[in-house]
Symmetry: C2
Subunit: 284 residues, 2 copies
């Protein structure tokens, strides 16, 4: 596995691959890899001639009071995992080279970045859109792999790709879960053992919502109340949001209708640790 | 000359050209072509295997009180001119297809879009950056040709290309001028005959500034006063700004120093018509 830190070297590699007509898959990450990331990498390896992963804790997508500094970093282990998974190249940019002093361009999305995580994390999705746009320009991949745990991020990137006429195909990869159902996240290591035990409540609440919808419940207010009640059964959980939204626009849905594609999306704090989880489904 | 209106068809053409290893030059315009635009096109034709021009009066870069609706449109003549110049393909997007209903992505630059025209035209450079980014994604050119009359636009686009890791080479093309020195502009046709006669004052004021600097004047305040005095000699002229700025950052310069790269930049109204002109120079 080649490790590259300079955007220029990366572009040279990509130009060479393009010349040889190799298809490129790209897996952007912030490191501290877990099984979810490796699933993205493996899918890319299956579907492309060449897979580039990146590890970059992107300062732009963290708010001033968020966990940029303490975000877990495990570079040596991450490299080993990516190499073993069969990733061909790892892009490991230096923040000062990636965002030089006179860097001043922002990519933002007006509507998709407002609700859900956008409410509690203002500026977050501009940071995401900006870094992904730049990474896509540097890697010019055929396919981009994103995990569905960050559903709103998927939608923001998909919409940006569509709006801006980018050629990449965005591939959504299902959420990887621990045995008890907790969605895998690099932030799970922040949890105390009691918090870790209680964190399963997110996936439980989602399953409960799914069951209600499958059984014909169409009243969103009712389902949300049930979700909140489930979440509150965990003594350490503090709900940031529990919403049912249109899967494309992320706008609130009031009454479910046959054929609706919706997302049930949750964000829950345990102490300072903010966990998210979601479930996409078609209303039958 | 192929005429394409759909982004999809354009991308297919570009993919084919890329496969054949053809270099692509791109000349974005808002139509109502004059000699300045044709110089861009000719330069692109010389330097690339294939030249794509676009004509698109981009609504995003016009303010609510600006001349979007009355902006001159001369499509039949424009097509003829581009064909005769030897342009290979013309992209003529439909606004509703280029910016569909759910379009919501904006590219903006924080510092370069603030001064000069950014002051009197808030949002203008976001509109420019957004449309150029999309057009670059659709045409993926080796070289992009921009006229230096819109100096700030050149800098915004150059910085965006640098910031976002785009591969295109931005080629600046000198200002084309009428015989009396007036910078060519699609907006010149708005001028009454008296205004047209007086409009030469912009290039005169720039020449005067250049002469002062060449003769060793280093006091920017003094030079600006001389420029303003010159401009005010035209009875119908109403000055929007007259500035001397750093050629890269567009920040105000107070005292000229040897080796400085500066731009003398003007915007002047004649009735509702806003004319701009500029002069780049190295301080000797």
């Amino acid at each position: 596995m080649q490790v590259l830190s300079s955007p220029k070297t990366l572009k040279k590699l990509v130009a060479l691959l393009r010349k040889k007509n190799k298809s490129i898959g790209f897996v952007p990450t912030m490191g501290s890899l877990h099984e979810g990331h490796l699933t993205l990498a493996k899918k890319s390896i299956q579907e492309n001639n060449f897979t580039i992963a990146s590890i970059f804790v992107n300062p732009l997508q963290f708010g001033p009071r968020e966990d940029f500094k303490r975000y877990p970093r495990h570079l040596i282990r991450d490299k080993k995992l990516l190499r073993e998974a069969g990733v061909d190249a790892l892009f490991l940019p230096d923040a000062d080279e990636f965002y030089p002093k006179d860097f001043q361009t922002t990519v933002s999305l007006s509507r998709l970045s407002q609700p859900l995580c956008g409410k509690s994390r203002p500026g977050h999705f501009s940071g995401v859109a900006t870094v992904i746009m730049k990474l896509l320009n540097l890697t010019s991949p055929d396919r981009l792999y994103l995990g569905l745990k960050d559903y709103q991020q998927c939608r923001v990137v998909e919409q940006m790709v569509e709006d801006m006429g980018l050629s990449v195909l965005v591939c959504r990869v299902p959420i990887a879960r621990e045995k008890d159902g907790l969605a895998m996240s690099s932030r799970n290591i922040y949890l105390s053992s009691q918090e870790r035990a209680e964190a399963v409540i997110l996936s439980r609440a989602l399953s409960r919502a799914r069951d209600f919808i499958r059984l014909g419940q169409r009243n969103v207010g009712f389902i949300k109340r049930e979700i909140l009640q489930t979440l509150r059964s965990a003594s350490l959980a503090r709900v940031d949001y529990a919403e049912i939204v249109n899967a494309r626009t992320l706008e609130s849905v009031v009454k479910l209708q046959k054929g609706d594609e919706v997302v049930v999306a949750l964000a829950v704090y345990f102490s300072k640790t903010r966990l998210i989880d979601n479930l996409t489904m078609s209303v039958g």
